[in-house]
Symmetry: C2
Subunit: 319 residues, 2 copies
């Protein structure tokens, strides 16, 4: 009884003078080591750009999506990286409030295009989404059925303009419908496969990242293969292209790519080691709740909800 009474008093006091709570970043920073998942060296691309105009080195790290999502394209990207195909190519398109794109700027010109390595797959359009067995996913008392690999459907992140359901699975923001179809989503920093008109689905040679408000209308229209987990500013702050769709008009405006390597191909001492906050952890659920209801000192009106793309999965260097 005493404990109950104390609890009630504490609850009363909290209601009378709501305590300021930690910011989402503080919650993530306080997560136990067991809540952080390693990004495997075989799932990490290391893109080295030419130094910036002031001579500062530029490196971008991209985490590739795990199977079975976008598996065909991710396989092609492994092959392209192992062939060192991107070395000497460039970032050739930056369209404001949309995407930064890289690969072969001459790819559309049969006379000048760089030959692709052998063995790349042509992936069908059906690969943009996945029909998957559903299972029961709960957030506290709130349960619903969702297709695998969705593992977290958070009450705080439930109203979405583009899909009946949204959530997370193994670190990735996902959307799904009521027929068990699931697909990755075009959030800021996600990496996708540029393509020509349908039925082209792209190979994975020409890639882009989202530098804008999430263009979710691209979901299920283009393959997503990963996300930038470090160095995003190197791609988002480039000068915008003045040509059609943000393509640079002059070759000297492009940013040269020195190399793209799978981290697993680098000498052990050069391999970056990153971790993401497990979206299956209790810490992540608290983090998402705090994103949806900011009560850290700056805020006076918690929103009561959050957009899927604003619940950014925390990533850090392995301590």
């Amino acid at each position: 009884m005493k404990e109950l009474a104390l609890l009630s008093l504490a609850a009363l006091l909290a209601a009378a003078a709501p305590e300021k709570k930690p910011a989402p970043g503080e919650i993530a920073a306080a997560a136990p080591a067991s809540d952080w998942a390693d990004i495997a060296a075989d799932d990490l691309l290391v893109m080295t750009l030419a130094p910036d105009p002031k001579g500062k080195p530029r490196q971008v790290l991209i985490q590739l999506m795990p199977p079975p999502l976008s598996e065909g394209w991710v396989g092609n990207i492994h092959a392209l990286a192992k062939a060192h195909w991107w070395d000497g190519l460039s970032v050739y398109r930056v369209q404001d409030n949309y995407v930064t794109q890289w690969g072969d700027a001459d790819g559309d010109d049969p006379k000048k295009a760089k030959p692709l390595p052998d063995g790349l797959k042509t992936v069908p359009e059906s690969g943009y989404a996945l029909k998957s067995p559903t299972h029961r996913v709960c957030d506290g008392g709130n349960c619903r059925r969702a297709p695998e690999p969705v593992t977290a459907t958070l009450k705080a992140v439930s109203r979405d303009a583009y899909a009946p359901g949204v959530g997370f699975g193994h670190g990735w923001p996902l959307a799904f419908d009521d027929q068990g179809v699931v697909w990755p989503t075009h959030c800021y920093g996600m990496v996708g496969v540029a393509r020509d008109l349908s039925p082209s689905t792209g190979t994975g040679a020409e890639l882009y990242t989202v530098i804008s408000h999430a263009p979710r209308h691209l979901d299920r229209n283009i393959a997503l293969v990963g996300r930038v987990v470090e160095g995003m500013a190197e791609l988002s702050s480039l000068p915008r292209g003045a040509g059609s769709l943000g393509v640079y008009e002059k070759p000297d405006e492009r940013t040269p790519i020195l190399s793209v390597r799978l981290a697993s191909e680098l000498p052990a001492a050069e391999q970056p080691h990153l971790q993401y906050l497990s979206t299956e952890s209790a810490t992540f659920a608290r983090y998402a709740e705090a994103v949806a209801n900011r009560r850290d000192p700056f805020f006076i009106a918690p929103a009561g909800g959050a957009d899927l793309c604003n619940v950014r999965v925390p990533v850090r260097r392995r301590p």
Copy 2:
């Protein structure tokens, strides 16, 4: 009867082989002149930045919000512009996937801060939102009550993570609740008033624009006063700051502001003339529907809905 039969046949054919439809931009471009609304010279700020590193001039145009939204802060901004207060100050903060901010980089240092002009108002926090009479707003057969100045609640733009209702009014993206409270929203390119901790609401001297996925959790926590309608890339593509919250660590990283003027104070020949697509027009409703259901040639899977911030109100130079 003949006409009906023809219509049915056409509908059948359309269902069998869905016709590719115009892209949202094509719909806007085809709007009659009467659907475009002029932006008054007194509602337009002209910010001239120092030329870029290659010597290219940089100009940013900002449309101010009409009363009664954020009226107190917009009044202060008029006074600051007329006092030429921003001349010689700088863009001093660029935080990736968040905001670019400008004003007095030394504003927090009482010894170095530039004095503000007399007569600026201190606006209460209640000014972040507006309690307003509701009226009936319809999209085709779908009607609902919404507070003024919401004039367009579009079925295609109805599911929102942050508010019970969203829509447009006189060119602005707005959110509202069921108690008749309405507020502007932090979409890409919107301009807001930086502030200290509550109860500070800021004066309007320190401004920022959103260069990211919409940080809608800032809605009703900070005043919004306008939006960038031309030259957004000059602010979104600046190098990110390495200091806390993206503040530049060295003064020479800042971008100097040469001048900020109300267009109405410029000589007639120098006044830019811009127009926005009236959000009350039938064209805008068709434009929003096309944003939510892309059927132009690139797309294979229309989304069936759109986020408020992805229905960007078209703006053009007056022909």
